[in-house]
Symmetry: C2
Subunit: 69 residues, 2 copies
Amino acid sequence: MGTKPFSEQVKAVRAALNLSQEELAHALGVSFATVNRWENGKTNPSKLAQVTFDNFCEKMRTQGRLGHV
Amino acid sequence: MGTKPFSEQVKAVRAALNLSQEELAHALGVSFATVNRWENGKTNPSKLAQVTFDNFCEKMRTQGRLGHV
DNA sequence: CATAAGCTATAGCAGATGTTATATTCTGTG
DNA sequence: CACAGAATATAACATCTGCTATAGCTTATG
């Protein structure tokens, strides 16, 4: 479950997909600054951002692009 | 394109789907307060919220649940 | 009418987001 | 090494979001 801090989840997902912060931001529909702040523990995701991130990960998994992060 | 104010778009979509503000909020993954503020012109959607709303509408259309609002 | 229940409107506050700008670090290439 | 370009880190500010509480507005039911 959500044991790891959100910052680690984002880093792990981004690394697994081999995306830059900018690219992940675009894929999620958020700004680069937002992804950067997440990874550096400056902010936690809003409810909407959390849902969006989860949906994105689920989508990547069903496409075989993301292991069990 | 986006001719109508966002507040009107939200009202129209919600009416077409026959949802309460609370129900639409849940469907989008935002809070009731957020949908309420959108409809009353108190705030405009964040980038993420705009993308999420657009995706939601598109999904509803492909499911035949939403005419061309 | 009176009451209840559900929906909607509004407000305040803490925290998150978007934009912009600047600085730093990494990476490859000559 | 030296340099350029990309990627990342950080900051400030306005705006948006989430939460909570309160009040008003239907609608139904007795």
